[in-house]
């Protein structure tokens, strides 16, 4: 079993595309609709990788990344941001928050899977 991935996105269609792509590659996918929901899950459960959108209501992806890095069991977990944002300053904020990588939407399924395999 390749592992468990926490996919965080406020868009239902994006969550479905991510889940579809990852499940067909053998990953188990846990979904959250925003940073707050993802963090609540992460406080009690571990995953092998987090794939998070940046712009979300309640808690954005960069704040989520910072919060996750504060949890002892998430310090070394790869966190990939999956977002439409490509501005260097936002990427830089993501890097400072502890993100492992930055993927600009729309994602290509083969490239996404190759990137995940690389960081896991």
């Amino acid at each position: 079993m390749p592992g468990i991935i926490l996919a965080v996105d406020d868009s239902a269609s994006m969550r479905q595309m991510v889940r579809f792509t990852l499940e067909h590659a053998g990953y188990e996918v846990v979904q959250a609709t925003d940073g707050v929901e993802a963090l609540d899950y992460a406080k009690t459960s571990g995953v092998d990788l987090v794939l998070a959108d940046v712009n979300m209501p309640n808690m954005d992806g960069i704040t989520l990344c910072k919060e996750l890095r504060g949890l002892s069991h998430y310090k070394g977990i790869p966190i990939l941001m999956l977002t439409t944002e490509s501005a260097p300053e936002t990427k830089s904020r993501g890097k400072q928050a502890g993100a492992t990588g930055w993927i600009v939407k729309p994602f290509n399924p083969e490239q996404l899977l190759a990137t995940i395999a690389k960081v896991l």
Partner: protein, 189 residues
């Protein structure tokens, strides 16, 4: 059977006695925002159904591909089996292309969200006559609205418009961006 509400689409709406150009402008901006909101809400439901139908179809196609792989050596040496495997490979590529294409909606919804926010902000701004007549306040408004646009394409359009580019130039830039948008980049830190 219920009666249709009486309305005359050709009637000229009478403005209130205390109308002002600012208030009417704000009203029309609010109207645009409301129309966009309604369109996005309708589309959300349709896209959700479409995505579900697509994932079910793709699941079924993948099951066929798996079955094709399980053909015996004898069976798989026939011309039909070769054709079946070619079809399966084509389907797999088409599914990948569709996954990329489906993500258009997320981007569209986000961009329309920014437009809606801009319209609401502008409606509030123009209603405040003191504020709307000061150059400095317009500059602040433009700066805050630019911050809202987060993709490179959005910012490029915003900059072209605020620099006074002609509508044709802006349209050409938008078309160029659309043609060049395939999948996005990946960067590992």
């Amino acid at each position: 059977m219920h009666a249709e509400p009486k309305s005359n689409h050709n009637a000229v709406r009478n403005l209130a006695d205390d109308w002002t150009p600012e208030r009417e402008t704000a009203l029309l901006l609010d109207l645009c925002e409301a129309q966009l909101e309604a369109a996005v809400r309708d589309s959300d439901q349709s896209v959700d159904s479409l995505v579900r139908a697509f994932t079910d179809l793709a699941d079924a196609s993948r099951s066929i591909t798996e079955l094709a792989k399980q053909l015996t050596v004898q069976q798989s040496s026939t011309a039909n089996a070769t054709e079946l495997n070619h079809c399966a490979q084509d389907i797999s590529q088409l599914i990948n292309n569709a996954v990329v294409a489906f993500q258009f909606y997320d981007k569209l919804a986000q961009r329309l969200g920014h437009v809606r926010h801009s319209l609401t902000t502008l409606a509030l701004f123009v209603c405040d006559r003191t504020q709307a007549q000061q150059r400095g306040h317009w500059e602040k408004l433009l700066t805050s609205l630019r911050r809202l646009y987060r993709t490179q394409e959005e910012r490029a359009v915003f900059d072209l418009v605020s620099e006074g580019a002609k509508a044709e130039t802006v349209r050409a830039a938008v078309v160029g961006d659309t043609l060049h948008t395939a999948s996005g980049g990946i960067e590992l830190f």
